[in-house]
């Protein structure tokens, strides 16, 4: 059986990106004065595994480039070269470049050769520094430069773009053999059982392509109908043309292992030197296991990727050998582009899941299976007296299913550390460029939020953090003059609060200049002369497009674009933004995001015939109302004496205009809830159990309803509403207490 490498390609990308993140954070941690060897080891290991992986997949541009990084890192960790900010910079830009290359390969795009050569040059300079200083250097590292660009050419050709420019430079080892224009025509007709012997034609062809330029022609005429196809038997045969200087014996050697299982005819090739690599698609067909499932999309992807991989292998020597070969590789572009694009599209989204979550799922499926077998047992020998048993079983089934559903929803939840990962780099780069010193801390990395929300929050976070460095933190001199430590502080913290995810970005910089901002807004005509605004309203102006307190636009900020985009992005997630600032002390930006699609621990309760859910985090206490502690206020409101304080009582049925089962407060049940230090006693008919619920949006198909955060689907399939405590507080204060509708009598009259 062949090993289809393409299926691991996605994993390779994921791991490489992770490796890059590790390298990045390691490099940022690196203190030039006291380099931590352990950190250097970590960075080195990450680079090394990327190199290894790239090598396995034949991504020579990547592996060559990483090799150079590795060389530099190796010297650093061996102490042969000192860690300087320049080295770190060069390595960081190399990380960026590598990320760009990987992304380009993943997206089937052309590589940015400019960025590559720039990063390469930076690395080479660092390498040369030491080489000039001592032992004459390592030729390998230096000379790999042309090979690297050759790799780019190969990769370019492979990705369906022209690789002509750099191809002649490809001084790879195989090019050294030279092409005499000779070669071999190989007829390869394997027996049907070839695959069962553990041989893989694709591997043979890869070995052949190392000898020279290989053209593969596949004959699929023998293929039976799809239904009759046996994935384990090989029905294909191949015509191969190998342009090489190798001897027949060398070619035969490649087939040594399959001699007994195939008809192999090798004849000298007459004719042109560079055969056209037309049918790269055919090269993919040795992946026989993908043929039977060709109908399914996944198979298409695999096949496409395999085609690309095989074609890449075939195109490689062609590109390095001669311009004819390059032309051939270029020619193959349209044929492959489709398949490659398909592959990219299908593999675009994936998620890494904590093994623990999967273990939970497996346990649950196990339970489900047990329940199922128990039920079928009852079903087989059913009699009326076993009814209770059946009901128990069904109840268990229901519970299993629900738990399973919840756990599966949980898989979508990812820790916010994914969104955090880019931030230290942003702070590092921006502060360096602006000559500022910033200490950056991150908290609440394990706070989970939905993957979709997470993806959309990354850009706003980057922008806000960059803004804090640029606008918030002052120059070291200015800070010292103000009696503050020269090093500014920026922190980001994420936590769950009352059905929301709160992300706070705090800096200890100069704060927002209220007057200046207001002045600018007045000048821009956004605020009327003489109109007075509250602090919150003024700070909200920073999100207005085209408004910036910076007098000059810098590379980083000051054009007044961006903040409006931040606000729009957060709004599109139904979130809100809040800015607090104290002159000279700093600014705090609070983002509040709803947990749509996510899971919430809720306390279920009942009012009238309806079940409601209140987020458990908001619940402070549930108690039985002591009539003596209830007092009226101006005949309208009621308060409850609770823990040395008076808490307003909310009768939910009044607020929601429903018919309760109980009107009498005394002896009834009350849930004390909290939102931002405001307490509320919610009077309910009955308390039910606590359970995790999946939050569903009410807004998706309807509207935002005051006092309601969303809805969920209960075990019995009915919908229950989730209370929004902040909204309730507001409603109970009479803020938006007016019902959305005119009085009912009125409409009845009208009818």
């Amino acid at each position: 059986m062949s090993v289809d490498l393409s299926q691991f390609l996605q994993t390779f990308f994921e791991e490489s990106f992770e490796g890059l993140d590790i390298m990045e954070s390691g490099l940022l941690e690196l203190d030039p004065q006291h380099p931590d060897t352990e950190v250097l080891h970590t960075v080195f290991r990450a680079a090394h595994s990327i190199k290894g992986g790239a090598g396995t997949f034949g991504l020579s541009a990547i592996s060559d480039f990483t090799h150079r990084m590795e060389t530099l890192l190796d010297r650093l960790r061996a102490g042969e070269q000192t860690v300087t900010p320049e080295v770190v910079s060069a390595l960081l830009s190399a990380v960026d470049c590598l990320r760009g290359m990987l992304e380009a390969i993943k997206a089937e795009q052309e590589l940015d050769s400019e960025a590559l050569s720039a990063a390469q040059q930076a690395l080479d300079e660092q390498l040369a520094l030491r080489d000039n200083g001592a032992k004459g250097g390592r030729p390998g590292a230096e000379q790999s430069a042309p090979a690297g660009s050759g790799g780019l050419g190969r990769r370019g050709a492979n990705a369906g773009s022209s690789g002509s420019g750099s191809a002649p430079a490809g001084a790879g080892p195989e090019a050294g053999e030279g092409e005499q224009g000779g070669g071999w025509h190989i007829r390869f007709e394997p027996e049907a059982h070839l695959l069962t012997t553990g041989n893989d034609p694709a591997r043979l062809f890869r070995a052949l392509s190392d000898l020279g330029a290989l053209t593969v022609h596949c004959e699929s005429g023998e293929l039976p109908a799809f239904e009759a196809l046996d994935p384990e038997s090989c029905c294909l045969s191949w015509d191969l043309e190998l342009v090489t200087g190798a001897t027949e014996a060398a070619v035969r050697e490649v087939f040594e292992w399959v001699e007994d299982d195939a008809v192999i005819e090798i004849t000298p090739l007459s004719g042109s030197a560079a055969p056209a690599a037309e049918d790269h698609g055919a090269a993919a067909e040795p992946a026989p296991e993908s043929a039977p499932v060709a109908a399914s999309a996944t198979a298409e992807v695999e096949e496409g990727a395999e085609a690309a991989a095989a074609a890449g292998a075939a195109a490689r020597p062609a590109a390095t050998a001669s311009s004819g070969g390059t032309a051939a590789a270029t020619k193959s572009k349209p044929a492959k582009a489709g398949a490659r694009k398909e592959a990219a599209k299908k593999s675009s989204s994936s998620i890494r899941v904590d093994t623990e979550k999967i273990d939970v799922l497996i346990d649950m499926v196990g339970e489900l299976v047990i329940t199922q077998s128990m039920l079928s047992q009852i079903g087989k020998e059913f009699s009326a007296d076993r009814l209770e048993e059946l009901q128990d079983g069904l109840a268990q089934l229901e519970r299993n299913t629900r738990e399973l559903q919840e756990s599966i929803m949980r898989i979508r939840m990812v820790p916010i550390s994914f969104a955090y990962s880019r931030l230290p780099r942003i702070v590092h780069d921006t502060s360096r460029a602006l000559g500022k010193e910033v200490e950056f801390t991150m908290e609440g990395e394990q706070t989970e939020l939905d993957k979709t929300v997470m993806e959309k929050i990354i850009d706003p976070l980057v922008h806000l953090v960059r803004n804090s460095v640029d606008h918030g933190i002052e120059d070291p001199a200015e800070r010292q003059a103000a009696g503050k430590p020269g090093k500014g502080k920026i922190s980001i913290e994420a936590y769950h609060k009352g059905g929301n995810i709160i992300i706070e970005i705090v800096d200890d910089g100069r704060g927002i200049n209220r007057d200046k901002l207001l002045g600018k807004a007045r000048a821009a005509g956004l605020v009327e002369e003489g109109e007075e605004l509250s602090d919150a309203e003024v700070y909200d102006l920073i999100f207005h497009p085209g408004l910036s307190t910076h007098d000059e636009a810098t590379e980083y900020s000051g054009r007044g674009v961006g903040m409006d985009v931040v606000k729009r992005n957060i709004r599109s997630l139904s979130g809100s933004l809040n800015v607090r600032s104290a002159p000279g002390q700093g600014t705090t930006i609070t983002i509040s995001l709803p947990l749509t699609l996510s899971i919430l621990d809720g306390q279920l309760f009942r009012v009238g015939d309806q079940t409601y859910i209140v987020p458990l985090v908001s619940v402070i206490e549930s108690l039985q109302v002591d009539g003596a502690k209830v007092s009226g206020v101006t005949g309208r409101g009621e308060v409850y004496h609770w823990r040395e304080a008076y808490v307003p009582i909310v009768r939910l049925h009044e607020l929601f205009d429903t018919e309760p089962m109980r009107h009498e407060l005394s002896g009834g049940l009350m849930v004390i809830v909290e939102d931002e230090e405001t307490y509320l006693g919610v009077f309910v008919d009955d308390l039910l159990d606590q359970q995790q619920v999946v939050i569903k949006s009410l807004e998706a198909n309807y509207l935002r309803v005051p006092g309601i955060a969303g809805a969920t689907i209960l075990g019995d399939g009915t919908v229950a509403l989730i209370l929004d405590i902040a909204g309730l507080v507001e409603m109970s204060r009479g803020g938006s207490r007016q019902p959305l509708i005119p009085e009912r009598e009125e409409s009845d009259e009208a009818a």
């Binding site: 309806q610 607020l655 929601f656 205009d657 429903t658 569903k696 949006s697 009410l698 998706a700 198909n701 309807y702 509207l703 309803v705 005051p706 006092g707 309601i708 809805a711 689907i713 399939g717 009915t718 919908v719 229950a720 509403l721 019902p739 959305l740 509708i741 005119p742 009912r744 409409s747 009208a750 009818a751």
Partner: protein, 203 residues
Amino acid sequence: MAEQSERQNLADDRTAALGTGADTVDAMQATADGEQYLTFTLGDEEYGVDILRVQEIKGWQRATPIPNTPHYVKGVINLRGTIVPVIDLRERFGMAAQEYSKFTVVVMVKVISGVRERIMGLVVDALSEVYTFQTEQIRPAPEFGAHIRTDFIRGLATVDDSKMVIVLDVDELLSDEDLAIADDQSRVAEAVRTAARVSKESE
């Protein structure tokens, strides 16, 4: 399923009958060109909605009421995991409310406002037919002056030379404002009735 194809046949027959003096080929052409409308009844009035907007048809199931919303919003139901509001069209039009029976149907329609697409359920008395109307067959609703809203009526179509179908524009009917704040019920109801009257007079 059988019922549905029967309906389709019926609709085709009607289309053929409608094609005044046209032969069968023309009638078939008409089926291909025109738009299909699903019609339902409210009392003895017949309403139609673009069939492409109809997502599915369900029997009435108990909805969870949403506090502080117009009374014709009956609440929300669970439609395979999504929360979907259900609107009683009788009450929306200011007609007398009716007890829900086993024939009461909820027509799930797609409502488009701007870039948003929403699914909502319309509670109606009963389903009626599927008709094919040519664009010119749907005559614009007459003007009633500024005080009566007709924007949610796309037009009026006549079937069998006598029966009138009020073709609704669901996007207008279920716009945000209408869902949050009930407009003057009498106006909507009156608009519908006047439309019916004018249409009959004009024949």
